[in-house]
Point group: C2
Chain length 231, copies 2
């Protein structure tokens, strides 16, 4: 593989969204709601809300905007319909303040020595920039669905990443913990690496598949990915 | 000032384009051409070529593309019309391999502790990413005219930077060694800082003005800017 740049899915792949979102829900709403259950339900709205944009039912809406709309629906269902505006704004920012998985910063730092490393996330640019500051993610640049006006798995996102980086698709390696993201990237000519993240959905959820046989590589951590690419 | 992010002009402000381009011309074309004179002439085509895009006479063309078209014209004028394609491609990459001014990396590193730091350049994304790798520029993210399909000083570039960063214009400080760039940023509501770069056009050219009285700040280096913003 002549890979020049690595582009990373972020939620679940680089950062632990579930713990971070549940922590902020607990901090801001206290005992009134089941923080883990609300985090899971909120994430459950993620794909359907983006699909409404992808199908053209909604005009382009940033992930912050989609998160806010989903939250407004869920607070009623979770018995907290009186949550003030300011607290809702803060809750949306929980997604900007997620912590990295323990291996992410070290792995990205190693990978950055010989490759361009960039996010390629459905998160909006501000979310990704704030997250990188919070979690210490050493991106060379932030690439986001927002730059293309399309959400993954739309082809425009993968095509646009290679184009902006000035590379051919096969010079770009998409790294994700989700096989559907990798399948879409592969269909646009990118190389793919699967990261097994067994705890993404918490200790009680069924784990994701241990490997992706269609990917060029399967690894258990970003540090393993760095060693595999440089050895 | 409640400044949350700093966005930087790059050519002349953060990196020394003249020395770097002349060095690559000398390396690739040898004694056949006056490297300093060709560097100056090439940069002289910069504004006129972008203005053709800004006026709609050319469709959107990346800065790499504009650099290549200008180079093709100039090589004839400079007595090197036989320069092979591959050497022309390499010459265009000279703009990806510029060195930082001596204070830039230290200043950006200090500024990054408390602020988002991003490029806001007419260079295309690939150019800016490659330059950051070459020169060690620690951007939080790369912002480029290419993302907006408009070249500075078009309003869309300044407006777009604040929008992507999720900030109000007055929370963004534009840093540049060029008063026209700062004037355009100011007209869109951004704060402005002028960096005096007396050697941008070489030791024999008339220096730029020592201060910009219309800017919020005038500094002599990025380290001075860091100290001014944190004291």
């Amino acid at each position: 593989m002549d890979v020049r740049a690595l582009v990373f899915d972020v939620f679940g792949t680089v950062v632990d969204w579930r713990s971070g979102v549940a922590r902020e829900i607990a901090r801001l709403l206290g005992e009134r709601v089941d923080a883990d259950a609300l985090a899971d339900a909120w994430r459950g709205r993620y794909l359907p809300s983006m699909d409404r944009v992808r199908r053209g039912e909604l005009p382009w809406t940033s992930l912050d905007g989609l998160h806010r709309a989903s939250l407004d629906e869920l607070l009623g269902e979770f018995g907290a319909p009186e949550t003030p505006e300011q607290v809702r704004d803060e809750l949306v920012l929980a997604w900007h303040r997620l912590d990295a998985w323990p291996d992410s910063v070290e792995g990205l730092t190693l990978l950055k020595r010989h490759h361009v490393v960039a996010s390629l996330s459905n998160g909006n640019v501000a979310l990704l920039v704030n997250m990188a500051k919070h979690a210490g993610l050493p991106w060379d640049t932030v690439l986001s669905a927002e730059l293309f006006g399309h959400y993954k798995p739309d082809a425009e996102v993968y095509d646009g990443a290679a184009r902006l980086l000035g590379l051919r698709p096969e010079q770009v390696l998409m790294v994700a913990a989700h096989t559907d993201d990798l399948a879409a990237a592969r269909s646009r000519g990118l190389r793919t690496a699967y990261v097994h993240r067994p705890l993404e959905r918490g200790p009680d959820a069924p784990p994701p598949p241990p490997t992706d046989p269609d990917a060029d590589l399967t690894v258990g951590s970003m540090t393993e990915l760095a060693h595999r690419l440089t050895s």
